[in-house]
Symmetry: C2
Subunit: 269 residues, 2 copies
């Protein structure tokens, strides 16, 4: 038998799951890389508006306008900004397909009722040029139908070691948690770096401190690990710090976070 025939017979008995990826941004690229060659999967199409962005996926059938989307996919993964999910998915010219979005804060019900709806939200931050280790990224899945939940579980398990079922409501709370864990902590590192510069130092002087802050969490909960003037209710140092901050918003930020720390330990003393 020729290799082509073997493949055809194999595909007949063990058909590949055909994926369609909608979107060409950071997350779409990371999912593309992660799913390529994983398990019995085949990405049959990547759909996006931007021809330059589509060039990234050049080994594959890529299309321009969303109207060119194939109806031959088994699972459609929408990796678009929150605003675009609803409108783009409404424009699909087929029905009753399993379509999932990847957003933390958009409800599953935002997808069209004419489809089998689901969500597959990776709890991670994606930036261009960073290749995160998908095996460690928790995937939060949700589906209208039990069968589809199993399909999404199998799909996510191809690339991640941690798959969690989560309702839209709880996913929204987890997304908020992610804003604190990543967006807000990153902004603290930014503000810290600006102050280091003000002291005439390179921001990398802070790196061992930042690393130890996170390393500590392996042994201590953040509740136990908390130190500093607000934890000690050391008003002298707090006031001294406020005097160093000239911008009203920055003073408010320092005060509010310090008050939140004080409240945390007041409550539980």
């Amino acid at each position: 038998m020729t290799r082509g025939l073997v493949n055809e017979i194999y595909m007949y008995f063990c058909p590949m799951t055909k994926l369609v990826l909608v979107g060409t941004g950071n997350l779409a690229r990371q999912l593309f890389t992660a799913f390529q060659g994983a398990g019995e999967l085949k990405i049959i199409q990547v759909v996006g508006r931007n021809p330059d962005a589509l060039a990234y996926f050049d080994a594959l059938s890529v299309t321009g306008p969303i109207t060119g989307i194939t109806d031959e996919g088994d699972i459609y993964i929408i990796a678009l900004s929150d605003d675009a999910i609803c409108a783009v998915s409404e424009s699909f010219n087929f029905r009753n397909k399993l379509i999932v979005h990847t957003s933390g804060s958009v409800a599953m019900s935002s997808l069209p009722v004419t489809q089998r709806r689901g969500v597959m939200y990776p709890l991670q931050t994606f930036s261009a040029g960073r290749k995160p280790d998908f095996t460690r990224i928790p995937f939060c899945i949700e589906a209208e139908h039990t069968d589809d939940l199993q399909i999404l579980h199998d799909l996510a398990s191809n690339i991640s070691g941690r798959v969690l079922e989560l309702s839209s409501e709880k996913r929204r709370v987890l997304h908020l948690a992610a804003v604190y864990a990543n967006n807000f902590s990153n902004h603290m590192f930014f503000l810290s770096g600006e102050l280091a510069r003000q002291a005439g130092l390179d921001t990398e002087v802070l790196f061992p401190l930042i690393e130890e802050t996170v390393e500590k969490l392996r042994a201590l909960s953040p509740y136990e690990a908390q130190t500093g003037p607000a934890r000690r209710q050391d008003e002298g140092t707090i006031n001294q710090h406020l005097e160093l901050l000239k911008d009203p918003l920055q003073r408010q930020l320092y005060s509010t976070i310090s008050n939140s720390i004080k409240q945390t330990y007041d409550k539980k003393l």
Copy 2:
């Protein structure tokens, strides 16, 4: 010659620098461990009020009340809380010794004028049970006299690979930077964990995200690494998040940090 005699001759020609450590808390313990056996140093006394805490340093001459402090030290390192530095150092019954404190926010001038004053501030967070890698911790030093600055440089270089000269004023700004890098980011991790629990999940589900947040900083500045609804000025998601937060202080915290992120990118667009 006996080993004792060899030691005596050696000590005559290459005298050890005699350290006195004032304090028995986390930092005192970490410095004790780091300085023990480092270079030509000998910790000749540890002074503290708490007999239980002193037991930690049992291999050494330890004393109780501060009045028992020896006048035979070359360098006195005060590792006490900010409030105690001034009063305790005022009570030393000797003059013209090199005494340094280890605080980020206390001015060198808080030490008594009757002594040779200095500062040796390690930019790190110290918790019981954690053994930080001192070789990577930046030490910020300051001294009234040039000779003493050299002595402190040599002393700190025994345990750290990074010694920086910094005025009291700049050290205060760096200490404020450390509050953001450690205390405030840790509080973000705490609040994030509380929200994950609210979603019915273990807080460790956030760990890969927290790790990637810090890992990213090796390749991108926090300015470049920033993502999330405030960065995108995505008011829909911001309002959705505010609705999830019931506590007024928590709503204020979310708004203020989001406003600070928005301001950061408004200014520089």
